[in-house]
Symmetry: C2
Subunit: 355 residues, 2 copies
């Protein structure tokens, strides 16, 4: 069971190992006939090049690494509320890597300032990845970014907040998604729509609010400031802000919360005062969380294109279009509005499609 090497293939095909290498790497300067001969030999022998040898000898490692916060992941596993965020990122990244003959390695890093530097250096030294995919909060950790830049490893920052950190910043079109949600509600006849913000420290919160405002303005709808309530992405803040909205002289007929957790808080607050969605009030969220999907009624929400985001990031890394010094920001990524039972026609309003 000793492995088949490039020498075996070369011998079988009657060429030099360099020619085999050329064929494998799709390099030019090989005659069609020779190429075929080599491919047949490789196939016949069941040859599979060693990642280790290729990476050690060559200038590329054929490895893309993701840096994921260990504490967060462990918390998530221990806690009641779980998501499949990682699974989806991994899937997109792995599929894209496989396509390109790359390997994807997920590395957990401790964001303790005392150890993060050692850990990152360790991964970088051991793997020499051709690119790094960062998820929050790594995607905003200046230490991580600096280490990657120093090592000359191009990186993609998923869901990153801060601009100017170098690399490629990739995120959903939050404003567009908020606008889509708003228009979905307007289409259902709603005119007074409340909005619960996410944590104001998150750039996404501001983008979502902006998208909401824009859509309202575009449709000539009035938006008194009292209809926009603060929040911090927690269930509890959803409860509090919903109470505030319901206490208004003219309460809204629909509420958009900046994430599903707050939207669930919204449903809970409604239940407390005997209100039901969507009969009395429509509710929408963001994230397409598992709990939002399983709630009663299930939440109308926005699904982040995480798989596509990760795949796109890996593609940019492998194709080399990210480069070390780049600082780009791409947000025009498709999102999916998941219309479910938590939103419905405005009370007493005829649903109109065109006006």
């Amino acid at each position: 069971m000793t492995a088949v090497t490039i020498y075996d293939v070369a011998r079988e095909a009657g060429v030099s190992i360099k020619t085999v290498s050329r064929v494998l790497n799709k390099e030019p300067n090989v005659r069609g006939a020779t190429r075929e001969k080599v491919q047949r030999a490789a196939e016949a022998l069941g040859y599979h090049p060693s990642l280790f040898a290729r990476s050690l000898a060559g200038s590329r490692s054929h490895v893309i690494a993701a840096f994921v916060d260990a504490a967060l992941t462990i918390d998530h596993w221990r806690g009641e509320r779980t998501t499949d965020y990682l699974t989806r990122v991994q899937l997109g990244a792995t599929l894209e890597c496989r396509e390109a003959g790359y390997h994807f390695m997920l590395e957990l890093v401790d964001h303790d300032p005392l150890t993060v530097s050692r850990e990152i250096r360790n991964v970088l030294g051991a793997l020499k990845p051709d690119g790094a995919l960062l998820t929050p909060p790594s995607s905003d950790d200046p230490v991580v970014l600096a280490l990657l830049a120093e090592a000359g490893v191009p990186y993609v920052r998923l869901g990153a907040e801060s601009p100017g950190g170098g690399g490629l910043r990739l995120h959903m079109d939050d404003a567009g998604a908020a606008a889509a949600l708003t228009e979905h509600l307007i289409g259902l006849g709603h005119r007074r729509i409340g909005f619960i913000m996410g944590d104001a420290h998150h750039a996404a919160s501001l983008r979502r609010l902006a998208g909401f405002r824009d859509a309202m303005a575009r449709h000539g709808l009035d938006l008194p400031e009292s209809l926009v309530q603060p929040g911090d992405f927690t269930f509890q803040s959803g409860v509090v802000s919903t109470r505030a909205l319901l206490a208004l002289p003219q309460p809204p007929t629909a509420i958009i919360a900046s994430n599903d957790d707050m939207a669930l808080g919204c449903l809970a607050a409604m239940g407390d005062v005997g209100l039901t969605a969507p009969r009395d009030l429509s509710v929408a969220g963001f994230d397409d969380s598992n709990s939002g999907r399983a709630s009663r009624p299930p939440l109308t929400t926005i699904r982040q294109p995480l798989v596509e985001l990760a795949a796109m990031g890996v593609r940019a890394l492998i194709s080399g279009e990210v480069g070390t010094g780049a600082d780009r920001d791409v947000s025009a990524l498709p999102f999916a509005l998941q219309a479910r039972a938590s939103t419905g026609p405005a009370p007493g309003a005829a649903v109109s499609d065109g006006g």
Copy 2:
């Protein structure tokens, strides 16, 4: 930014590279003083050994690979019902690998019989993993098992159904978990408990049923056959079997479904006839699924120790205790009973702790 190598450390420490290698690999035959000198030098230079060089030169690759079904994972991503199964397996495996200086690589494999062999060989050839972690359905795929055995790669089969496939089979103590659920209900005063089986083709279904029967018998409770209904793990089969149970002359006061999906079907069927859990009927499931957690009422269920299972598997692989020819079966793994609101005191029964 040229990397620090073993030569740099050797020079800095004033020893040969072989000595550095010895220290790094915790081999014997190095004096304490020399060892320290080398460690200091490595630390000072920020040395991190190259995985590629180590794996290429040595007999171990320091890589543990997981083989995961691509189609299933993609379906799961696309579908409405998602789980964090993979995330949890990955977490346990990655943490354990990190501890031992290993790297964990997740590989998606297509279970198409035409391609599976090529894909597995490819991974095996490229990575030469020191061990493989298999998740369903790979853990029962005879082709996968045969290829691994042929390549001499030890493997651990998570949630595997069929015995005799070699390697180490690791699964939750299903019988114990079913018994725990049963005793939880008995403790709440229930005496007539219905059971909805999982797909009879799954060994876990039979183990769960056996655990239920045992617990009932141990407590001297009568168990007419009509209280055990068939099922196939789908929501719909939960609905059907619940109707059958409710139609009995003496319906049960509690129902254990062999997974959460069926338990949710159970709740739905109850709702149809105006019954509420746990007031009219207690309901419990298995899996600790996201939807079971978010349902109303949230389900009492059994949480599989997936993180621990994966970690244990990796540990067995790295320590070498699995070996190529082994065929062991370990099921005595801890599970966690999650008592939630779907189970409560039996109607009209005083809750007793001791009798």
